[in-house]
């Protein structure tokens, strides 16, 4: 990887032009709904206990897909299966198929480290490393073989500008990352994922540990990423899902196992759900 272009290219580089985030009521569906991730009959079990069963859906390229549903219905497990972070959990068994750009991610020939470079992940609690702000971004780049110092510095600056942190931290790049506020830490984590130029970004409730103002900033940032990255976001904030998502997937527990109940364009799922469970959940009657 020797490209020196900023990880977030300018607007004209986006693939899908008639793109309207946010206003899901009027806008055309985002992009051409070409699947980026194809998930077929995905099941996840911890030991003998299944947490997610038989999930099939296509996650469209360049769109924001929100996963909604009550706690414990397997949304996080679903997310972790996509970048094979489930490999790290002892006793975790994943079955079914996940294809990224048509290639199976569970193929034994796939290097999970390389997969995770292409499928980044943001966690609920901001987890910047206890290093300086600069080294948080520099170290992963170095580890992924970006040898030239100048290139690393360019990419760090570009990605910090991209997440709107540059002006806040340019004078203290060598200060501890843990000294940043919660919202800044989460944006740094997003920058850390983006600096590796992933195609897909998985986000596990990225705003739930932040105060409302910081949450709004991060939300705006996520919106701005759509069109260039495929984003899968777990959120418990239905208003947020409504605001930012192009597609929504509703999960629910049936017989103590998480299942996908409904998937479709966000406006359809929220305003004209076909399933009664979805209708009850999005209207706040249950969940």
């Amino acid at each position: 990887m020797t490209r020196a272009t900023p990880p977030i290219p300018p607007q004209e580089a986006t693939r899908c032009v008639p793109y309207t985030v946010g206003d899901v009521f009027e806008g055309a569906p985002c992009c051409e709904p070409r699947p980026h991730l194809e998930i077929r009959d995905l099941s996840v079990a911890y030991g003998e206990r299944p947490v997610l069963a038989g999930v099939s859906l296509d996650i469209p390229r360049g769109c924001i897909t929100a996963l909604i549903g009550p706690s414990g219905c397997g949304k996080t497990s679903f997310l972790s299966a996509l970048n094979r972070l489930t490999d790290l959990i002892a006793g975790c068994r994943v079955s079914g198929e996940v294809r990224l750009d048509g290639a199976s991610v569970f193929d034994p020939a796939v290097d999970p480290l390389e997969l995770r470079r292409h499928v980044g992940m943001i966690f609920q609690r901001p987890n910047p490393f206890p290093l300086s702000i600069r080294r948080n971004l520099d170290m992963p780049l170095k580890e992924h073989g970006v040898r030239r110092r100048g290139e690393r510095e360019e990419r760090i600056e570009a990605v910090l500008r991209g997440v709107g942190l540059w002006d806040e931290v340019r004078d203290r790049l060598d200060a501890p990352a843990l000294g940043l506020s919660g919202g800044q830490q989460q944006r740094l984590c997003i920058a850390r994922a983006l600096v590796l130029e992933p195609d897909v970004l998985l986000m596990d409730e990225p705003c739930s540990a932040l105060d409302p103002l910081a949450s709004a900033v991060v939300e705006e940032l996520i919106r701005g990423l759509a069109g260039r990255r495929t984003i899968v976001i777990v959120t418990h904030n239905l208003a947020q899902a409504r605001r930012i998502a192009n597609y929504a997937a509703f999960f629910w527990m049936t017989e103590r196992v998480g299942k996908l109940i409904e998937f479709g364009q966000s406006r359809k799922v929220f305003d004209a759900p076909t399933h009664s469970l979805t209708a009850a959940y999005v209207s706040g009657m249950s969940g």
Partner: protein, 294 residues
């Protein structure tokens, strides 16, 4: 909500306040007496040993079975034994701790067995280590009574403390960082080297300190392995007398050696304090430098 008894502002301190005061007094007394014992020990050592202490005592060879002269060669042997012990125990201990904390599956049978073995080893009297070291290193491996035998025996002895404290330090590092590193596609080695080990540095250096303390103070394990010879050792295969062995020898077997014993003990305790401080600084500098918390 209704409170059952109305609040009375002017009530006098009841009996439970007296109880609380008594408790406060008790914990202060406990802490005070611990500090007192150490102070007493130190004062005793200084008053009895400081008189004999001088530069020449530190560098000169012992004379007249240690009654006069100095402890120069003994200091050299002590530091050499310690160096051998740390050089052997540190990589082995750190490796085992990393395996226990990061590689062994949680609650796996192998990890449980290793931990059990370590806990048993930690409780084995040091004289047993001496006999074991003698049989293994001195006789079987043919190292004889030597600094190498002594150092390796001490390494076996401090390994359990080193490993368990390092393991606890590594386990205390939040999993968030491990997951974060994995999600970035970093290798385990990279995550360990750049994030986990530095974050655990304080615990690692504390474990090292405990190990050094135990090794420096050891007598029984060394008598059968590094021996009694108080000459300056020419190589690691020479026998050498450690400070603790010297003190034991002077106070038990040499009449009129008490003055030298006290002075040697004073040197030992100073050495311990210096090495502890140094190791703490080093760990801070080397590992903690890159770690920055707010």
């Amino acid at each position: 909500m209704r409170s059952s008894t109305p609040y009375r502002a002017a009530t006098r301190p009841a009996a439970r306040h007296r109880g609380d005061r008594l408790f406060t007094l008790a914990v202060w007394a406990a802490a005070g007496s611990v500090a007192g014992v150490f102070a007493w020990l130190l004062v005793d050592l200084v008053t009895a040993g400081a008189g004999r202490l001088s530069w020449s005592f530190l560098v000169a060879a012992p004379e007249n079975a240690g009654r006069s002269g100095g402890i120069g060669p003994i200091l050299v042997s002590t530091l050499a034994i310690l160096a051998v012990a740390i050089a052997a125990a540190l990589p082995l201990g750190l490796g085992t701790a990393i395996w226990l904390a990061d590689f062994a599956r949680r609650g796996s049978r192998a990890a449980r067995r290793v931990r059990l073995a370590l806990d048993v080893l930690a409780g084995v009297p040091s004289i047993m280590f001496g006999l074991f070291g003698n049989a293994l290193f001195s006789v079987w491996l043919g190292l004889g009574f030597s600094i190498l035998s002594g150092g390796l025996t001490l390494a076996c002895m401090v390994l359990p403390i080193l490993i368990r404290s390092a393991e606890m330090g590594l386990a205390a590092v939040p999993d968030d960082w491990r997951r974060g590193a994995a999600a970035l596609g970093l290798t385990r080695a990279a995550a360990l080297w750049h994030v986990i080990l530095p974050a655990a540095a304080p615990a690692l250096s504390a474990g090292l300190m405990l190990g050094i303390g135990r090794a420096m103070a050891e007598t029984a394990a060394l008598i059968f392995t590094s021996g009694y010879v108080d000459r300056l050792p020419g190589s690691l295969l020479d026998s050498g007398r450690a400070l603790a062995v010297h003190i034991y020898e002077l106070s038990m077997n040499v009449t009129g050696g008490d003055g030298s014993a006290y002075a040697s003990a004073l040197v030992l305790i100073t050495l311990l304090l210096v090495i502890n401080g140094l190791a703490a600084q080093l760990a801070e500098r080397w590992l903690g430098r890159r770690i920055t918390t707010s």
